[in-house]
């Protein structure tokens, strides 16, 4: 079985800074795969490379066997890849549910004619999208904000909203960039539950995180980055026992 995501010798340099160098690993469908490492290790850069926001200076990323080199993020979305951001990208000029409905963009068929004249085909699609989006908001745990403006939501709720939006695109793989950042212990436990529920639906999850407890509890496999290079790769038990990793970072 070919891996869902294959990263081969991936590198990205910004001028003289080698943010990511020679990184290779593979993620199988259905796995929860986490990327950890100290600050500045290149985790978000790696995510940006995989999701098409950066162009690699070397190496390659394959999604379902297809190289993503020339693909735009919107094209990757068409191929089943979706993500959230370390610095939340919520459209504050829309309501909460409209943000999630935005995630339904690719599955909603509409053209200018049906839109301008509000033909039945459009209203049907809108109703369905609204219902599905409300469902997703309940699923991620911000159901109480269904009729709210995005600007009225708390930080934690917005993080969950972003996940709902990503899920609305019905992705095969979802990449979460530091979803637990800024969350307290209670919220983090809820997040762990949510990621488990997402994985149970068969969606592959890739995670960048600092919260060790969360990562160790939830992951099938881990990738440890340090200074842009791979330090170690394996199951949580293997990583926990790896002396290099302990020395570099897990130490206390």
């Amino acid at each position: 079985m070919t891996a869902l995501v294959e990263v081969n010798n991936l590198s990205k340099a910004f001028g003289g800074v080698h943010a990511v160098e020679g990184v290779s690993f593979a993620v199988d469908a259905g796995q929860v795969y986490s990327v950890i490492g100290p600050n500045g290790a290149g985790k978000t850069t790696l995510f940006n490379l995989i999701t098409g926001l950066y162009t690699p200076t070397g190496g390659d990323v394959k999604l379902n066997g297809e190289s993503t080199a020339k693909l735009e993020p919107s094209q990757l979305a068409q191929r089943g890849m979706c993500r959230t951001f370390q610095q939340m990208q919520i459209c504050m000029n829309m309501t909460a549910i409209e943000n999630v409905m935005l995630g339904r963009h690719l599955s909603l068929k509409s053209n200018l004619l049906t839109t301008l004249f509000r033909l039945p085909a459009l209203t049907r699609g809108e109703k369905a999208a609204h219902a599905k989006s409300a469902e997703l908001m309940e699923f991620v745990g911000c159901g109480e904000y269904i009729n709210a403006e995005a600007s009225a939501m708390s930080y934690g709720a917005l993080k969950r909203l972003e996940i709902a939006r990503a899920l609305a695109a019905e992705p095969k793989i979802i990449l979460l960039d530091e979803p637990a950042a800024g969350l307290n212990a209670v919220e983090t436990t809820a997040l762990e539950e949510l990621i488990r529920k997402i994985a149970e639906q068969g969606i592959t999850v890739m995670l960048v995180e600092h919260d060790m407890k969360l990562v160790m509890n939830i992951s099938d496999r881990l990738l440890v980055l340090n200074y842009g290079r791979v330090l170690a790769e394996g199951t949580p038990e293997q990583i926990r026992a790896n002396p290099d990793v302990i020395a570099a970072y897990l130490g206390g």
């Binding site: 978000t44 951001f85 370390q86 610095q87």
Partner: protein
């Protein structure tokens, strides 16, 4: 043939020098505050109009010039203090509209005080045109070029050798860091606007004998100065000068050899070409967006 070419060249460099000074004013403010000051052209207008009306009231020329420049400087400070600072971190569109509003306001004041007529300012030195290889050069043009060169030299010295100048540069690169090392950013911003206004008004005074002056010359000159700054690369001083001279020369050549009706269209066509093919301008910096 050659004299014709030379004629256009002289015209182009002269007006180009004016554009360059306006462009420097834009660049200065943009660097200090990331604001595009659509009212920049009005400083030019104030310089010329104030000088003309003061001399008409009997004030000696030199004093009139000094007063006009000081007036413009004060307006620059007022603009920053009263219109820009209160808007804090408004978005691009809002800031653009504020400066456009300021330019309309200043123009409205000028119209109230000085009416709508054109005014003539005499040449600084002789009215005798100078002949060079068959081309005729207005003696005022030499003043424009000379004063322009002096101003650029002063600015270069200011920014590379004085603490205040370096403080402005520091603020433009990183406002918070500048504040942390003790630079009073609010002062810096006011200073940037003031210097910009001084530049603009001096340019306006020195070019007024050639172009006449009235309450609404600021608009098109300001816009062309903006175009020049963008061609050179928003934020680059060298770019402003090069852009200004380039714009002036191309415009004069096009007006001479192609069509003078479409002279104004030259600036706008040039900016479109630059924006399409070299969006950062000739000397502008690249910006990477971090997600």
């Amino acid at each position: 043939m050659f004299s014709e070419f030379l004629q256009y060249l002289f015209t182009g460099i002269t007006i180009g020098a004016t554009y360059a000074l306006i462009a420097l004013g834009f660049t200065l403010i943009y660097n200090a505050s990331h604001v595009i000051n659509f009212a920049q052209g009005e400083f030019l207008m104030i310089g010329g109009m104030a000088t003309v009306s003061l001399t008409a009231m009997g004030v000696p020329m030199l004093l009139a010039i000094v007063l006009a420049v000081v007036l413009a400087g004060l307006m620059g400070i007022a603009l920053q203090r009263l219109a820009i600072a209160p808007a804090k971190d408004a978005n691009v569109v809002t800031l653009i509209i504020i400066t456009i509003g300021a330019s309309i306001f200043i123009r409205g004041l000028a119209q109230l005080v000085w009416g709508k007529k054109y005014h003539v300012m005499p040449n600084f030195s002789s009215d005798e045109p100078i002949e060079i290889f068959g081309a005729v050069l207005n003696s005022q043009s030499l003043w424009v070029l000379g004063v322009g060169a002096v101003l650029v030299a002063v600015l270069v010295y200011f920014f590379t050798r004085t603490m205040t100048g370096k403080a402005i540069l520091a603020t433009s690169m990183n406002k918070d860091a500048a504040r942390l090392v003790g630079i009073r950013t609010q002062m810096v911003l006011m200073l940037a606007f003031m210097v910009s206004a001084l530049l603009g008004s001096i340019a306006g005074i020195v070019v007024a004998p050639i172009t006449f002056t009235s309450y609404d010359i600021g608009i098109i000159l300001g816009l062309k100065g903006f175009v020049a700054a963008a061609i050179g690369g928003l934020g680059s001083g060298v770019g402003a000068v090069v852009g200004g001279l380039a714009l002036g020369v191309v415009e004069a050549m096009a007006a001479g050899y192609l069509s003078s009706d479409y002279k104004d269209a030259v600036a706008f066509s040039m900016i479109l070409l630059v924006l399409f093919f070299m969006p950062r301008g000739l000397f502008g910096a690249k910006v990477v967006e971090r997600v």
